[in-house]
Symmetry: C2
């Protein structure tokens, strides 16, 4: 047969350009800021939520590179159906979460036929321009079903972000007028991929292993991170550096807040549980989806963009309990399986780990040994909270004392808050 | 940094082998049939439903090649998350639908630690062996959400196949003891990919364009197929052959049954609406999912395996109405968009078409012209049924008279059936 002479050329030509390994930086140079701001003033405006701004932050620093803005429909569909994007040169990059901006009917009408819009933060500040926009339908049911594998009510990101959002999505190329800052005393932890790569170079890292977390660090985590370093040294690396990379964007209400976690992480390093000389602590600015196997790909991909080449993955990454059934939402093994087979992540070195738990015989955190399961104690977030509330200490060796103190203080403040709120609830 | 030295090798080694372009044929040679059947008799048995047998048929002939049996978990997860499989050589093949076999707790228990099982048809005949099996959880909610993008009740394949199925999936390599036959007078239409490729060669086709359908052929379809041929000739192909390829497996209750459709298609060729010299009519043995953009990839991929290199795609392929809302389940444009970007289908030539409708001015089926929308009449299946029921003819030029007669006869038989069933319903 002859070679094919026709193709679906219209659609293929809309594919995005590869980034050539350069970290995308979509913040406009200071010299252009004034002119661009003035230009943005004259455009139709789109009002952002707090979480939209977190995504602007993520995109602007290149965590989602080669994505250069909020997804247009072709990118959205590829993300939803294939968890990856095909680029103009035919290469594949991983892109498992739709990174999209929703608008309502009124905003869409206000935009009319404009090709560019100004993005306005929750406080009314113009923060960015979205250029060469495309507006398309926001089918929430399909987005939720394909991203989470369920449409059960009670998914935190859905309830907080998607359900209240408009019925349209707006994609386009992003230009951020100035770096996103939160002024919460933690901005110095928010290193961009470019800054992180510089830091890895400065420390002369020959391997960078990333650990994503959204919980306090206990000694089980530390065991895992220290054991990874040991394995990397055994493999012949001379200076493996740990990127301890707590997620800093939206988390569900019962997760420990970022400021408390950062304080707790500091104590873990101060107490010497992790070695400050070979550890970089920084904040990953992404919001959390709790989308298990779909989200763990995003978590790994973003860290590759920041220069990591090893990624630690444990049991049920980015998972949570099923919102309406008494079971894990995801099979706890699916995260690492899906990650290991994910398109665009073929070169990532995945370090799967057995789960760590408190070994009541050895009186320390250890890798779970199923042959003597009864000796192990799993200490969940709920259990930690109970310890703190009742003033009981967790078993020795579960967490360094400095770190535990931070949590006790936090949980006590919650109880105090509950107590003050109690009468109000009763009287209403 | 050094080259990575470790990888998720355990999981990657389970990837399947590429087929090297050879059509898979999993039917055991006649000489081995006796011995294999005797061997299968001694194995634990898995009872198949009618639709399971359709999948055995599909897999055994190589429509799903390089898949060599029902999916194991790695293939299932890749299909669900990426709509594609990565093979051992690193290449990607499209695989958008999970092709899986469900078993219940009792069957799982009966299998115990056996590595091979015998597959038994609904009539009790041993029809195949599944070797080196793997049993894993059948999370129905996740499967449905990720395949259909909804979990709304009323999806035909879900109600017919998934809901009543067991909570386990069993994957393995398939050996079919003898070719699957239906003895419904239509088996001569069921050409395997191997037989089709031979037929294309015999006819000296230099291009094969496939048309997937599950409805009667009206003159709008014919317009589209004839126009495709014209375009292919214009492109320089000398002998483009049309594969008119009605789906022969499970369809929803209100679709026209296969025997009626085949009779109608015959009339369309007899009446000269399509040219028998350049058309091959054959049955595609797959069951229908009605999964829109996810399923259209399967429909295209299977036809590539049978030797087609052009695929015609229209509005809302493999779509249906939303089961609980008054709208199409899928955006009518998403099918062709997703297909055009699908991993593993990069080389497929997709021929998107404007929708055809009845032009009341020209008094024939024509490509819809939005500038004079009011001149066009869309004739749906429901509308056809109403015409047939009321004895009214559709407008001249909608369908060839011979084809229409077949449908009138069918719809009249439905009415007669309704009439005889009426009293029974009333008295019950």
């Amino acid at each position: 047969m002859q070679a094919p002479v026709q193709s679906s050329s219209v659609i293929k030509s809309s594919l995005i350009e590869p980034d050539g390994g350069v970290v995308v930086d979509l913040v406009v140079p200071e010299s252009e800021r004034g002119a661009k701001t003035a230009e943005a003033e004259s455009m139709p405006k789109v009002k952002l939520t707090k979480i939209d701004v977190e995504w602007v932050h993520v995109i602007s620093e290149g965590w989602a590179s080669p994505l250069k803005g909020f997804m247009r429909e072709d990118e959205y569909l590829q993300s939803l159906h294939f968890n990856s994007l095909r680029l103009k040169d035919g290469s594949i990059v991983n892109m498992s979460l739709p990174i999209v901006l929703a608008i309502d009917d009124e905003t869409k009408e206000g935009i009319g036929s404009s090709s560019d819009v100004g993005l306005v933060g929750p406080d009314g500040d113009l923060i960015a321009i979205l250029r060469s926009i495309q507006i398309y339908k926001h089918n929430k049911e399909e987005r939720i079903a394909r991203t989470w594998g369920t449409t059960a009510p009670g998914l935190p990101y859905v309830e907080e972000v998607i359900t209240p959002a408009g019925n349209w999505l707006i994609g386009g190329d992003l230009e951020v007028l100035k770096p996103i800052k939160y002024n919460d005393g933690l901005d110095h932890y928010r290193l961009s991929p470019k800054q992180l790569r510089k830091e890895f170079d400065k420390r002369q890292a020959d391997a960078v292993f990333a650990f994503q977390l959204r919980n306090p660090v206990h000694n089980g985590h530390a065991l895992l991170m220290n054991d990874t370093r040991r394995r990397l040294l055994e493999m012949g690396y001379k200076n493996p550096i740990l990127l301890l990379h707590p997620l800093g964007g939206f988390v569900k209400a019962d997760d420990v807040p970022l400021d408390v976690r950062m304080e707790q992480h500091s104590k873990v390093l101060e107490d010497g549980v992790l070695d400050p000389a070979t550890t970089i602590v920084a904040i990953f600015p992404s919001p959390m989806h709790y989308a298990g196997p779909t989200e763990v790909q995003w978590h790994a991909k973003a860290r590759i963009n920041a220069g990591a080449n090893f990624y630690i993955v444990g049991r049920d990454p980015a998972g949570m309990g099923h919102p309406t059934e008494k079971r894990d939402l995801y099979d706890p093994d699916h995260g690492k399986k899906v990650l290991s087979m994910a398109p665009g992540l073929e070169k990532l070195n995945i370090l799967p780990f057995r789960v760590a738990a408190y070994d009541t015989v050895a009186k320390k955190m250890a890798f779970f040994d199923p042959s003597r399961a009864k000796d192990f104690l799993f200490i969940s977030g709920t259990k930690m909270r109970t310890y703190a509330r009742t003033g009981e200490n967790p078993p020795d060796g579960f967490m360094c004392p400095g770190g535990w103190e931070v949590l006790v203080k936090y949980y006590e403040s919650l109880q105090a808050e509950d107590a003050t709120q109690q009468p109000a609830v009763v009287s209403s």
